[in-house]
């Protein structure tokens, strides 16, 4: 085998580089997300119910928000009728965040864990949180 020294060194460097993310993160477990709903508004609610059941919100909130922004801005329709018949103003800033006023403890929990970076907050104003 010609140049075996160089080739083997190359392979070792290659393997180390490719597996870098695996061994770099070894032993540091990221804590699983723990979104909290203990805001004052939610605690005062008798039935702690979002616009749709928890499971639907977990999986589809991004789709709902996408639909909302479209119907509000483009169609000018602002009222959302939930499956249980209750009506809501379709507004991230004025409806969602009135209850979920704890962005860092709620939204950011999963978003950071999954490394998704929605740009909602570039424009929409986050409620102030007590530190």
């Amino acid at each position: 085998m010609y140049d075996s020294g160089k080739i083997i060194t190359g392979i070792v460097i290659f393997v180390v580089l490719v597996t870098f993310p695996i061994w770099y993160n070894l032993g540091r477990a990221t804590p699983p997300p723990d979104p909290k709903i203990d805001t004052p508004v939610i605690q005062e609610m008798k039935v702690k119910q979002c616009i749709e059941p928890k499971q639907a919100m977990k999986g589809n909130h991004m789709k709902i928000l996408d639909e909302w922004r479209h119907t509000v801005v483009r169609n000018g329709e602002r009222i959302y009728t939930a499956p249980d018949g209750k009506q809501y103003d379709m507004s991230l800033q004025n409806t969602c965040m009135k209850c979920h006023s704890n962005k860092t403890q709620f939204c950011d929990q999963c978003h950071n864990y999954l490394k998704v970076n929605p740009y909602c907050w570039d424009c929409h104003i986050v409620p102030k949180e007590k530190k």
Partner: protein
């Protein structure tokens, strides 16, 4: 075996009856599908929003400044120094810039040195809408030229298209100049989008008049041009009105009484 005309018509008749009563016909003609939407849409309550600016009723520039301040406050419009980066929804402009077609050497001094309130004309033929490649700016059924910030890519074609300079581009994050949002109910904008007056569509949805109209002490009159009994129509009927650059064919919906 031949089919005579009489038999053919019978068969055709019976089969079309079946067709009408079939599943598809039931679904299409049954209740639901073809009914008009019964959802409340208070925004489109008017067919053609317009504004009359009674310049005679503004006693001083301070009166007009009140309208500007009310707008800036309602929409978190930052005060950025410098003509390049400034964000304007509603602002003051001198006569020659507002009505360049009407300017001449001998115009009365009172008018020549007067400044006028101006903002988006919500044109009936908006050039900004025609040039927008993403339809981020669009014409609503009620006449408002609306901005969808979620779609704006910041190409600034609309700014080139608008003959009134009604649009401003966010060269940087506007929050640099907003210590506190002045209206926590309304979003700010982000870096890289174009913004302008929206005729306060978020207030119209609540049944409120635009913020500048409320602050104007009756000098700005807002209403439905399609309604012959509206106040704007009455004012336009009784007074001589002018519009900005009418020769361009954009058909502005701001009318100035001078």
């Amino acid at each position: 075996m031949g089919l005579n005309r009489r038999d053919f018509l019978k068969i055709a008749g019976v089969s079309s009856l079946f067709g009408l009563g079939g599943k598809l016909a039931w679904e299409v003609l049954g209740p639901g599908a073809l009914e008009a939407s019964t959802k409340p849409a208070p925004l489109t309550a008017a067919k053609h929003w317009a504004m009359v600016i009674d310049t005679r009723k503004f006693k001083s520039e301070a009166d007009m400044q009140k309208c500007i301040d009310a707008c800036n406050k309602a929409h978190n419009v930052p005060q950025i120094p410098g003509a390049k980066e400034e964000i304007k929804w509603i602002w003051l402009e001198k006569y020659g810039h507002v009505f360049p077609d009407d300017e001449h050497q001998y115009v009365s001094e009172a008018v020549e040195h007067k400044r006028f309130l101006t903002f988006c004309n919500h044109c009936t033929n908006p050039p900004c809408v025609r040039v927008c490649p993403t339809q981020a700016t669009f014409k609503r059924a009620d006449g408002i030229v609306m901005m969808d910030m979620h779609r704006c890519i910041g190409c600034r074609f609309c700014m080139a298209g608008c003959p009134y300079g009604s649009r401003s581009f966010n060269w940087g994050d506007p929050r640099r100049y907003l210590k506190e949002p002045t209206n926590p109910e309304y979003p700010t904008r982000s870096k890289g989008v174009v913004e302008k007056c929206t005729f306060c569509e978020e207030r119209l949805a609540k049944g409120l008049h635009p913020a500048c109209v409320e602050a104007s002490n009756g000098a700005l009159i807002f209403g439905d041009l399609a309604n012959p009994n509206s106040e704007v129509r009455k004012l336009l009927k009784e007074n001589y009105s002018i519009r900005r650059k009418p020769g361009l064919g954009t058909a502005p919906n701001l009318f100035y009484l001078v």
